[in-house]
């Protein structure tokens, strides 16, 4: 679709600069938010920010409690789930708030912006975009979750091997990470792409914006989906890790 600026565009491992920069930006937003919240800790008079962060932690803990087999594992997965929830929420919302792209006609071959790609994207080079609207990023995160879940399962190798007696589980090993990543990517990318399509609706008589109500409705839905998908990705992560933890006794 759009011509992203890439490092090493002709090698086997091109690096999408926009996505990397937006990931770092989302991480910085999360770090600064949590730093500011942590600097104003008070037991006697909790501020609004502290209440908010405590509510998020409690929310995540409840989510992990429903899906993980034991209290020890809930404590183990809580930092990861909390970080994942906040990071995905922020990075999904970055794309809802704004997307910035420049229009250029000059191809920059060493950044991977070739004339052919520019013609296909109508000269649009995105600079500020949701990092989760990129398939490689979400599939990479899903793959990371897959690795963690198998790391958790291989702590008890015999039980891990025994559950493959059912061939359905072998198919699940492929479909689970695939749908896990594609779900997030599809939702965020479709949201942004459709905003772009709605914005290209012409203005009637140069006065009446026909697309405005449509845009408002879709923005509202997109914001809702951004929040829900961060939640869904995190709860599926705890679910996949919890399913693979065979060594733990259930205590609820």
């Amino acid at each position: 679709m759009s011509a992203f600026p890439m490092l090493f565009p002709n090698s086997a491992f091109p690096i999408n600069l926009t996505t990397i920069a937006m990931m770092i930006l989302a991480g910085l937003v999360v770090i600064i938010f949590l730093r500011v919240a942590a600097s104003r800790l008070s037991v006697r008079e909790p501020g609004k920010m502290q209440n908010l962060v405590e509510w998020i932690i409690e929310f995540t803990a409840n989510m992990a409690k429903d899906t993980m087999p034991s209290q020890r594992l809930v404590q183990w997965v809580l930092p990861l789930a909390f970080t994942m929830l906040l990071f995905l929420f922020v990075s999904n919302w970055l794309g809802v708030i704004a997307t910035v792209s420049i229009n250029t006609n000059h191809p920059i071959p060493w950044l991977g912006i070739t004339a052919q790609k520019l013609a296909q994207a109508h000269g649009e080079v995105p600079l500020y975009d949701s990092p989760t609207a990129n398939m490689s990023m979400t599939l990479g995160m899903a793959f990371m979750v897959w690795v963690i879940s198998h790391f958790q399962g291989l702590k008890t190798p015999r039980k891990w091997l025994r559950h493959y007696k059912n061939p359905m589980f072998i198919i699940e090993e492929i479909t689970n990470p695939l749908t896990h990543g594609m779900r997030l990517y599809g939702n965020i990318f479709a949201g942004e792409a459709l905003i772009g399509v709605i914005l290209s609706i012409p203005i009637l008589y140069h006065v009446i914006p026909i697309g405005l109500p449509l845009l408002l409705v879709w923005l509202f839905y997109s914001a809702f989906v951004s929040s829900i998908q961060a939640y869904v990705f995190t709860i599926l992560m705890t679910l996949y890790i919890g399913h693979k933890s065979y060594g733990e006794q259930t205590d609820h």
């Binding site: 679709m1 594609m182 779900r183 990517y185 479709a190 939640y231």
Partner: protein, 78 residues
Amino acid sequence: MVQALYDIAVALLLGLSAAGSGVGDGLVMSKYVEGVARQPEARGSIFSSALLGVAIVEAFPVIALAFGIIILFTKGAL
């Protein structure tokens, strides 16, 4: 000719996935209403699981929408 084939492909993709997910969403929400009618005090926890189910069912037409938009605008060059 070729452009029309892409249009038909995208229309079929979106229409079929929307029909399927409509049935799925209907099933999830009808079960949610049944559950709330049977046990009104459990509304909160049922609602969160129903929302999760809707989000999971709803993901597939949205994935189809993303791929439809990609196919429509790149005309199969991807």
